[in-house]
Subunit: 312 residues, 3 copies
């Protein structure tokens, strides 16, 4: 559900997934993000597009990076931002996310940025939104992380010409990755067909189209784009994957392994990185890395999403 | 102590309780709140009445809802807001609330919103306030929650004509409820005499005028207003009240029980709600519920309090 | 390293220590702070010097007071502020402070306020700052707390004429005190030579020039300035110092002991205070105390630092 309102079939009301986002809408968001992009090391420009609007960051799962990215995006557009770190909130125990949502909606919050570890929560909230209120998913279980998917294809587009010619390798715990799911959906929409997944067998996805490899070298061969995923250390404790050292040996991206990809391949990571586990420091900081660009692009993409949903 | 300053006997300096707030002052606050009220689903209007002023949210007890309500109220009036979540602050262990207050006052904070689980803290801080500095209680032990009391009578006034004809039933842990105390004070000021309390015998109040019932049905009979209180689950663990299921059976407000009240009775709850414990979902979301209105009204009432105290 | 940039040898890029800050630069900061100082009990003036700039409060160690002081300083200059309380952030476990810094820098943060319990972190971040990005230390291990040192000498200067004639007694856990280190550096720069340290033998510094006493009375004799340091209760648990009562008897500043200093001596404390441990309430709140002034001055000094670093 992308939440098209009945009156304006072309207008997004919510952004909950990239699964059914039309290509034209996706491209319009990328174009708009390009206008908001600020050069590194310079002050970001401030806009008044959302003056007088209130954005609530409603995080039921802890986050520092995504929360800050949304917070800066909203403030640079002129909105007021309130952040509710529900993961640490003891007072609302027993209150449902929907009650919290209704409470904030009653306080005239205009747009909700929602992260929750259970599937379906952003959709439920969106179904209860008043006609002029918007919901953006900032991460939903293993299912979806649409602004991350947008920033990923935005980043690729700044380096690669044609999406339909791209070979993209996604390596790590793909099965549990909302980042991978949203990226794959956006890539499909833009015409990319050659998508390869690599990782431990138990962590390869069952629901995603693409070639699957337990040997990352095969996925990397000739790739234009290498997306490394953050490994959750809890999965090591659960015995699902080997220890850090062994994981790095088998699946980690070091300079040697990266040579299997195309010479002009770009290296991506959604962050935060476990250096020396899924990625070597030399690669993370190396010339092919676009990891910091992804972060900059994330703010611009989120500004585009917020401004577009709010119809400005 | 409502904190009238010596120079302006009519002017409020602090809002710590509703116990001795004159009727004219209370009505003026309600009138003003009406001007600030924003329609649901629309962006809230922004004012510049408090431009350049600094409001500190000084919460020694965790809160999400009240803190956010005050934060939005202050920002929509143009103030800067700093929030100090002292419940989670380990660095100031050993520092008294008064030292924290003096520190912030030295940083030119103009108004303090204070919540503390001990009685007397807001008063102590107010006694040490510089002449142009204001203190608003956002909840003091079991004693007082004046802005909640104001929003409750503001909400009632939007639905009911004459306060002196009203029958109000307050049901739950009235004994430990600052919400009930402040509501009762405001109702008394506005002329309401028929106030009934219901709940487990150990949780009925010893210090409040009104009829007391252990059977909620008797309190509900013919009531115009039904205020359900949040039950603290800690009291169940302490054995003071039965378990959730039994509590709901005996005291919870479901559709059947609500029929004992007048057909046009309104149902209130300060939130956050324990659905299925003190209130059934069908009632909380039903046509007689004004629970979400209370939340909207809370922001408007707090804007009125902040603007009035600051003399704008 | 004070972080002079190559192009502008006179211009500060970062403020990491006071150790090598030239006297002219230090005096210019104090002058500027004087312009920003707001009278107690009045609204602080708001400036637009940093409009459109983003300041990140990056606290790897919990803080309420210093964080709030920097937050208000930045906002009163017109900057946007994002606060990252990394001490409570579980999501970025395993991410290095440098990765967090790069992430925020990629989000076009213009100035970082950094506190970390390990030595060297602010320097490391400053070394990786883009040319127009600034780093201010808000506390580095036991090493440095430069804005505290500035506010201390700013406070002294408002009460005492000549720094070269001053006798300054610093009492408490000097060995582990970044406050003491930065104050001593600033005092040296301004010409103060008579600096005395007093405290338990194990807590006297090995790396600071000055007379050392285990009897605080000897340090206090004829002092113009008395700086009491906060005692960390953890050191009592570790057996390094006696219990609270005995500590107060031996090293605490009460009215009797204060009489050993000059009659016009001022009493300072960086806060938060342990009343009845390192300082008696009667002294903390007495006529010679400038402790609240220090707090007010702290905001003004931080405004001066932020505005100066940002070249406005």
């Amino acid at each position: 559900m992308t939440g098209k309102s009945a009156e304006h079939p072309q207008r997004l009301q919510h952004l909950l997934t990239l699964a059914d986002l039309p290509q034209t809408t996706l491209l319009a968001l990328l174009e708009r993000a390009g206008e908001f992009l600020a050069p590194p090391g310079k002050p970001a420009r401030r806009y008044d597009l959302l003056d007088g609007k209130t954005v609530a960051n409603l995080f039921f799962e802890p986050s520092t990076r995504t929360r800050t990215s949304f917070e800066l995006a909203a403030r640079r557009l002129g909105a007021e931002v309130v952040t509710l770190d529900m993961a640490f909130s003891s007072t609302v125990k027993g209150e449902t996310p929907l009650d919290t949502f209704h409470t904030l909606q009653a306080m005239n919050v205009d747009l909700f940025v929602v992260r929750h570890r259970e599937a379906g929560v952003p959709q439920t909230l969106a179904q209860h939104a008043l006609p002029q209120v918007h919901v953006v998913s900032a991460g939903e279980a293993h299912v979806s992380h649409p602004t991350q998917g947008l920033l990923d294809v935005f980043t690729i587009r700044r380096h690669k010409k044609k999406f339909d010619k791209l070979a993209v390798a996604i390596i790590g715990d793909v099965r549990h990755s909302r980042v991978a799911r949203s990226a794959v959906q956006a890539l499909h929409t833009l015409g990319t067909r050659d998508i390869r997944f690599a990782g431990p067998a138990e962590l390869l996805p069952e629901d995603l189209d693409g070639e699957q490899f337990t040997n990352p070298d095969k996925a990397l061969a000739g790739a234009d784009v290498v997306m490394m995923l953050r490994i959750q250390k809890e999965r090591m404790q659960a015995g699902l994957i080997p220890d850090e050292h062994e994981y790095f040996q088998r699946y980690g991206l070091d300079a040697t392994r990266l040579k299997l990809a195309r010479a002009d391949a770009i290296v991506m990571h959604p962050g935060p990185m476990n250096r020396g586990v899924e990625i070597a420091a030399e690669v993370a900081d190396g010339p092919q890395s676009v990891i910091r660009e992804q972060v900059s692009n994330g703010v611009a993409v989120r500004m585009a999403v917020l401004a577009t949903l709010m119809g400005t």
